[in-house]
Amino acid sequence: MNSFLSLIPRFAEAILVTLEVSLLAAFIGALGGFALNALRLRFPRWLAGPYRVYVWLVRGTPYLSQLVIVYFGLPVIGITMTAVQATIVSLAFYSAAYFAEIFRAGWASIPRGHMEAARAFGISRWSAFRSIEMPQAIAFAIPLLANQTILVIKESAVASIITVPELTMTASDIVASTYTYIAPYAMLIVCYWLLTQCIAVAARWAQALITPSRKTS
């Protein structure tokens, strides 16, 4: 138990690195996914092909292979990044494809009649997007967005391979220097589990917060 407690300071630091990397990447990825979906709605004809290829490439390959292409491959053509930068960039690029699909599902969940009614009332395309579609689509998407954020946190473990000092890297470091296996790895599992549960609880709370406003509208 004592050895378990003595691990807490280093793991606390590592949790912050994991959170910083994955939440930043998820945030950029969500913005990118949102923008992609908005563009897709605005220019359906031009964007359909490239959008589908992007989603196909990102979802058809492991995140690890995208990370090593960004970190080890891109320097070949002169784009060099630190391990943390490469992780954030690749994780954002990766998650944007999933986030875009989530927003697409959100927009698909809105009944067609809403847009027809908005047009009949002479509401502009932009205010309809902002005040009619977006609140409904996002309320629909909250559980999916939270789930994707959890996936990003879990994928960020792979960054330990390129020596980002996040949770998994820290656990492996402690194992390598102390030759104790059980306590660091048990701690690792506990830390990730707590992180993902926190996100899940926060999402349920956010949804409960949003649902009443949907009923009155």
Binding site: I69, F72, K154, I161, Y185, W193
Partner: protein, 220 residues
């Protein structure tokens, strides 16, 4: 860096990458197959009347879904060896991936089990089918047909998740890519080619899934 050279080099990488791809494929196949049966078992536990069993199933699913595959694999590989019971990386990888996908598959299959009308199970009882016969001949064929799209996407996820087994010394596709890139000093082309292999596997799986789905839909 003229194109013919690049093509010749890529052809040179192919045999080793193919070897790696085969390892990735059979490892994923074992994991998905074992995970299917384990997933049924976990679903049975979660649906059982015993509260202890149901709680154990919930904890299992929560832990495996709430933590990264990489962390799980490190536990399965290093903890036994730390206890003086070293196991080969391939075994740890197969066990780890199976137990991981079992958690997901139990959830997927659960949605199928719930969708089966109770009347069918009552009818099976009336015809004196044992619990096991009902499970294998009445419920599971329908559950598989109902959840096929989700099962195929889980297979694809496992192929992708299996890329991290390279960390515990399994020479899968990713690992071969790492070896080739450290020998050739050309990481961009090697890793891109490895990614193309993954893309081919996952695309074929999703095409096959759609084909089977259509056939199942026609028969129903």
């Amino acid at each position: 860096m003229n194109p013919p050279d690049l093509l010749a080099r890529c052809l040179g990488y192919l045999p080793q990458l193919l070897d790696g791809a085969i390892t990735t494929l059979w490892l994923s196949a074992i994991a998905v197959a074992c995970g299917f049966f384990a997933g049924i078992f976990i679903y049975m536990m979660s649906a059982s009347k015993s509260r202890t069993l149901a709680a154990a199933a919930r904890v299992y699913v929560s832990i495996f879904r709430g933590t990264p595959v990489l962390a799980q694999l490190l536990v399965f590989y290093y903890v036994p060896s730390g206890l003086g019971w070293a196991i080969p990386g391939v075994v740890a990888a197969a066990v780890g991936l199976s137990m991981n996908t079992a958690a997901y598959q139990s959830q997927i299959l659960g949605t199928g089990f719930i969708a089966i009308p109770r009347g069918q199970i009552e009818a099976a009882q009336t015809f004196n089918l044992t619990r096991r016969q009902t499970l294998w001949h009445v419920e599971i064929p329908q559950v598989v047909a109902l959840t096929l799209p989700a099962l195929v996407s889980e297979m694809i996820d496992i192929v992708k998740a299996s890329a991290v087994v390279s960390v515990i010394a399994v020479t899968d596709l990713m690992r071969v890519g790492q070896q080739l890139s450290s020998v050739s000093y050309r990481p961009l082309e090697v890793y891109t080619l490895a990614a193309c292999f993954y893309l081919a596997i996952t695309s074929l799986l999703s095409l096959a899934g759609r084909g089977i789905e259509r056939r199942v839909a026609r028969r129903a």
